[in-house]
């Protein structure tokens, strides 16, 4: 009977194995290293922010910068496969969506599909989406939009509404 109890308690102890695993390494050691990792994350994020600002200034100065954003509306049942974007009849972006990216769009995320440089003045934008509609059929939705690039950074949001229309918002 003793053996029964002993074995059963062993079984219970194994339920707590996560605690047992870290026995060799103290909580303080784990915490200390974790804090150092947090510090380096903070430093690297600061570098990343500085680099983003530098890139924006160096590669995409505000007088020529143009960014295109993509969002979904009523996109819960739409399986978006890809997007192709042309500015002034020149293909500038093409993207094939992963499952994660599509979900992020469905949950309100906005994708920056392009950042580049354009001269001030009028430009034409052409967008094509491909995917599967809520009814299961393939769809291809294409739309055009004219926008004017001013002296400040230009932004256009391209919104796919369901699988039936595309809306554009100049920012």
């Amino acid at each position: 009977m003793n053996r029964v109890v002993l074995t059963f308690f062993t079984c219970l102890l194994l339920l707590e194995s996560p605690w047992a695993v870290s026995q060799k390494i103290s909580k303080e050691q784990i915490k200390g290293l974790d804090e150092q990792v947090q510090d380096i994350k903070k430093d690297v994020l600061a570098i990343s922010t500085e680099l983003n600002l530098l890139e924006e200034k160096l590669l995409f100065p505000s007088n020529t910068q143009v960014s295109l954003f993509v969002s979904l509306s009523n996109g819960k049942k739409v399986d978006l496969d890809s997007i192709e974007v042309k500015i002034d009849d020149k293909s500038i972006a093409h993207h094939i969506y992963t499952y994660k990216e599509l979900n992020a769009l469905r949950e309100g995320g906005v994708q920056r599909v392009y950042t580049g440089n354009l001269r001030t003045g009028k430009h034409s934008l052409k967008v094509g989406f491909k995917g599967k509609s809520s009814l299961g059929g393939d769809f291809t939705e294409v739309a055009s939009h004219n926008f004017s690039k001013g002296v400040g950074p230009g932004m256009v949001e391209i919104k796919l509404v369901g699988s039936s229309s595309i809306e554009f918002f100049n920012r």
Binding site: P18, Q23, V37, L45, E50, S67
Partner: protein, 645 residues
Amino acid sequence: MRYLTLFILLPLTIPLSSANDGAENNLRDPFFGEALYYAKQGEFFNAIARLDTELRLYYGIDEPELDTLHFYVNEATFSVGDFELSYRMHRKAGRAIKAVIEGNVAPQVRNEAIYRLAKIYFQKEQNLNALHAIDRIEGRIPEAIADDITFLKGQIYMVNGRFQEAEDLFKSINGKIRQKGYAEYNLGLVRLAQGNLSGAISALEDAGTLRSDDRAVLAIKDKANLMLGSRLMDEGEYPTATKFFERVRIDGPFSNRALLGLGWASATSENYPNALVPWTLLSQRHVTDPSVQDAMLSVPYAYEKLGLYGKAALGYGHALSVMNKELDRLDASIKSIDEGTFLELLVREEFKQDRNWVVKLRELPQTPETYYLIDLMASHDFQSSLQNYFDLEQLRKNLEKWSDYYASYDEIIALRRRYYEPLLPGIDEQFRKLDSLINLRLEQRDRINNKLQSMLIAPQPELLATADERSALLAIQSFEDSPSNNSEQTQYRVDRLKGHITWNWTIQYNERLTKTFEHLAALDNDIARLKTIYESFVRTRQAATQSYQGYDKNINNLRIKTKRAIETVETLMLRQGRMLEVMAIGELRKRSQKLESSQVQARFAMAESYDRATMSKLEKVQEEKPIKETIDKQASAETEGQGEL
């Protein structure tokens, strides 16, 4: 989910910028949306970096109220904290969220921030801080997280020993948390802590009988039943415990422990045939599981108790051979980890796609370090250390990529410098000439405008004379002053001519003044165009200089910072990796020791079973001996009788 609540909050907390914006999307800041896009994919580094950049730009501009982020700035700051929390940067996230709490924000936003802060403290096991934080929640609570707040409050009260208050809170929870069984499970735990076994049983039974297809609910259901079964075993209520072990799903993550417990519940009631059913099933499962290894000894133990010593001895023999093999595998695992293959495996891309990938690998003989990973993966400390290792690897990759960028930036800047520097002096000289000319014209325009304005009050028709009129007048005056003007009649004719010109500009004055104003307006249009071109030139000129000047120091600083960060990351990776290896080896050694001790038990038990089997055989032989002798005697008697005949 928590990001969703943020967007639900927005209409309540953000003033609408303008009526003509209409749709909610027109209000949204695309860069904030972009950060969300990364966060929703679990790419928190990119999400934080993106939002940090936008916040830096926002605070750096002259008129931030014109920026679309203006309406979201509190939420953006809050989200940075939230993302940092998800990126396991608890210390920085805590500071960001504290800033929101102390800022001028709506009560719902403030309460949500306090909730996040309390959650951080709770996760970091700073229970008293968590208690102080959660008690600061007051006023309107965001509806979407009301139950989450109550649940967290209950958990915090529980760890701080305020069991009765925790129990009341868990009882008050409705909605999803109750549907998912978390409230009932915790209610069971808090009642157990208070020594209220019957109450705990009732709560855990509720959690253990939930009906759902949701995997999370099924897991909590299994956990509740396993907990209840184990607790009843401790109380000596073996038959009752059986019912709860049986409720655990046969293919769930807790099934091995439940099968082992089920066997022991029967064995302690001395019902060994019943104990054999779950144990036999369990002993055929994956041998690396500790419950399976226990079952391999439990099965022959049950046979022994049933008096089947031979079968028991064979069972122990089989267990010994399996254990020997497993000990060899454990040694191979330890050796493989020592050689560094474990860490190499962890940072492979496949692991990011499927976290079970390493677990699946244990079937392959080429990857001995993965055999016993399941238990390691279950450890919180191991998990957090592993996550840190992944994060460090991601940082290392980013930093190395950026190091390459700097060389490209230097090249771009050098190219631009080579192109612009010879051109700019000539352009600047031309520009200076044009600039003085433009300024002169602008001054002229201003003078004309001033004169015209004064003429509105005091008419001066001669100022609106045409060129012909002016030259005619000059000719007349010249004639008038000449010796030819020597008679009264000539002077009369001169006066007539002068009168004719004066008459014309006097009667045409209003018409001429209107036309002049029209010309001035046309001039203003041209001047506006000139100003646009001028400003565009100035901007382009500035952009040309800015495209290659003023970067060197910045890039060099970044280069130095990146280099230092790479060194720190590599050092930390080594330390974090070693920590993981030590943890892994520690766990494997622990398993080795357990196996060795089981092996000793199995050897003794096997020897005992063989002895008993032999003794049993001898006893049987002895029992059979008198009968055999009688039979032999009878047979010899019969033989003798036949001989006599």
